[in-house]
């Protein structure tokens, strides 16, 4: 990929659509007054307080959590509770499983969404606009419509509790396809594809040397959004998996239904299961925010 980027003219990086939006907004932007800051601080407190309190509760004992008033500051039991959650509530296995599942889903979704998004954005073929509409329409279908047959097939195949059961159905995404299509319409100059074609490049070469380099920023953002969604997927995993081979959400569901009747351990589990995504937000928050806003303007 690195070498292919060198051979490309700078045109591919084009003007990212985000920039134009920012310029349009900047003209009318008024400075925020003190009242706005106060209200924003309140919103921020509501956003963060439940997470901070999760950590506080995870650092206490079950007995302390049963008392009034509830604890407002950290205690000394955090590591003990984290360890109990890791070992006894299966959070350890669950974390590794979820990293694997979410990674597979992310790679599949980004790859397939880029290919389909490219076709919808830049290639002319019969029924393309109808097929794009169908793709968007599929976002309306609730996952509940698929789980009964999926469960029966899974039982026939003996795939209960196996990770591929929760990976395969989620390998593609209508949102991702639309997201990549909207990005590539603007970010990938059509002349570039035509020039490559005149040079006799095959479709695969064009994808590898022209489409992927141009799509890379959007692929990264889609990857982050997909990873968050895959990490938090709930309905199908709790039907397909159980405590023997859980994902994080399955393990949390078991904790919630009284598997370990200790609230401080339950909170430690919730904290563990959220921590990787919080770290991702700390590192890539700006890109994730940008991705959601980018998807919104065009969606």
């Amino acid at each position: 990929m690195a070498t292919s980027e060198l051979t490309l003219p700078q045109k591919t990086s084009g003007a990212p659509p985000r920039r134009r939006v920012r310029v349009m907004g900047a003209g009318k932007q008024l400075h925020a007054g003190p009242v706005t800051y106060v209200v924003l601080v309140l919103f921020a407190l509501v956003s963060l307080a439940p997470l901070v309190w999760t950590a506080i509760a995870a650092s206490r004992t079950n007995e302390r959590l049963a008392q009034t008033p509830p604890p407002l500051w950290f205690g000394g039991n955090l590591f003990k509770n984290l360890q109990t959650a890791w070992d006894q509530a299966g959070m350890g296995t669950a974390m590794f499983n979820t990293i694997f599942v979410a990674a597979c889903i992310t790679v599949g979704t980004v790859l397939f969404s880029t290919l389909a998004g490219f076709a919808f954005a830049k290639l002319r073929f019969r029924f393309s606009s109808a097929l794009l509409l169908v793709t968007i329409g599929t976002m309306m279908i609730p996952p509940q419509l698929a789980v009964v047959p999926l469960y029966l097939w899974m039982s026939d195949l003996g795939w209960a509790n196996q990770l591929q059961t929760v990976i395969l159905p989620t390998l593609v995404s209508a949102f991702g396809t639309f997201f990549m299509r909207q990005y590539l319409v603007q970010a990938l100059p059509t002349e570039l594809i035509e020039a490559a074609r005149v040079d006799g490049a095959s479709s695969l070469r064009i994808v590898w040397h022209v489409v992927f380099p141009a799509a890379r920023p959007a692929m990264a953002v889609l990857g982050l959004l997909t990873f968050v969604m895959a990490w938090n997927d709930f309905l199908w995993p709790i039907i397909a998996l159980n405590g023997e081979n859980p994902t994080v959400q399955v393990a949390l569901n078991q904790l919630g239904t009284g598997y370990i009747p200790d609230d401080s351990v339950i909170m430690a589990g919730a904290l563990l299961g959220t921590l990787p995504l919080l770290i991702a937000f700390l590192l890539f928050g700006k890109q994730i925010v940008g991705g959601i806003m980018q998807g919104a303007v065009k969606g």
């Binding site: 939006v21 920012r22 349009m24 003209g27 400075h31 925020a32 706005t36 924003l40 956003s47 963060l48 439940p50 309190w53 509760a57 959590l65 009034t68 008033p69 509830p70 397939f112 002319r124 097929l131 599929t138 279908i141 609730p142 509940q144 419509l145 698929a146 789980v147 009964v148 047959p149 029966l152 159905p169 390998l171 593609v172 479709s203 968050v228 938090n232 709930f234 994080v248 959400q249 949390l252 569901n253 919630g256 239904t257 009284g258 339950i266 909170m267 589990g269 919730a270 299961g273 959220t274 995504l277 919080l278 991702a280 937000f281 928050g285 925010v289 959601i292 806003m293 919104a296 303007v297």
Partner: protein, 291 residues
């Protein structure tokens, strides 16, 4: 070369077809059969039995009603707060990116993790919420047992997780509003509030419609929040089924009671409701486009 566009879109349609479209049709088929979890091999024709069973079941209508009321309780305040938040984020702020990331943080928290925390915060005896209510001199609320109290608690989880996300969507739309609209409104002597009311809101209308549709789809399938809020007996949606949603009812009938045929019928009822909503939405947006 001619075939390649189809090759590029094939993975999406193959996986979607195999794991969504075909199952969707099979779900319709199963909804017309008796399918029991305990004897998966024996599927006998049931005609419309499962649907008749639903229509005459109080629990189905209760779940439908709860889905609707929790949907309204969670969507309306959420979207209003999101517009307000977006309006503030649209000012020129110090550290604007930090504010945005902070508001989005609840989105990083899974349904399960968020619900486990909120269940403790809303604990009737020793939870934070009732302690605060007591501190400001209000009566404690039984967030577990009462109808509106438990529905409000479940809704608050949805509101908490999604307000920031929707605010970002509104913010993106606000930033795309041409500045000269505000300038000419200001020249006409419009106050900030009047500008918000008569420029921002009308320009946001398509985006508002979009978020209403997405939130409605989400509300129709609400499942994880009421399930985990209920603890050990979560699939019943509370002792009196006071927050059992359609999604929860489907899971309860399918995997706890073990009647997968009936669960399929519930799933298709959900889909029909969504199709009706989609039709209404199309009518509204057509009207909007005309005016």
């Amino acid at each position: 070369m001619k075939a390649s566009p189809y090759a590029f879109i094939a993975p999406f349609f193959v996986v979607f077809g195999a794991f969504s479209l075909v199952p969707l049709l099979y779900t319709a088929w199963y909804s017309l059969h008796h399918v029991q979890l305990s004897s998966l091999d024996q599927q006998t024709w049931a005609g419309l039995d499962n649907y008749q069973n639903l229509l005459s079941s109080d629990f189905f209508w209760n779940a439908l009603k709860n889905t609707f009321s929790i949907g309204v309780l969670s969507t309306v305040p959420q979207l209003m707060a999101a517009i307000w938040l977006a309006h503030m984020l649209n000012y020129r702020l110090r550290g604007s990116t930090v504010w945005r990331v902070v508001m989005l943080t609840p989105y990083a928290t899974s349904v399960a993790a968020a619900t486990l925390v909120f269940t403790l915060l809303f604990a009737p005896d020793n939870g934070m919420v009732n302690w605060v209510l007591d501190a400001v001199g209000m009566d404690p609320v039984n967030w577990r047992e009462s109808d509106w109290g438990s529905q409000l608690a479940v809704s608050s989880i949805v509101i908490w997780r999604w307000t920031g996300y929707n605010a970002l969507i509104y913010l993106a739309a606000m930033q795309a509003i041409p500045a000269d609209l505000y300038e000419s409104a200001a020249l006409d002597g419009a106050t900030r509030w009047q500008q918000f009311r008569h420029v921002t809101i009308p320009m946001l209308r398509p985006t508002i419609l979009f978020t209403v549709v997405v939130s409605t789809i989400g509300a129709t399938q609400l499942f994880g929040e009421p399930l985990l809020f209920g603890g050990v007996s979560g699939t019943k949606g509370g002792s009196e089924h006071q927050y059992q949603t359609l999604g929860l009812y489907m899971y309860d009938q399918g995997w706890i009671v073990g009647n997968l045929g009936k669960a399929s019928a519930i799933a298709w009822s959900m889909f029909l409701i969504l199709l009706i909503i989609a039709a209404i939405n199309m009518l509204i947006s057509r009207r909007l486009r005309k005016s």
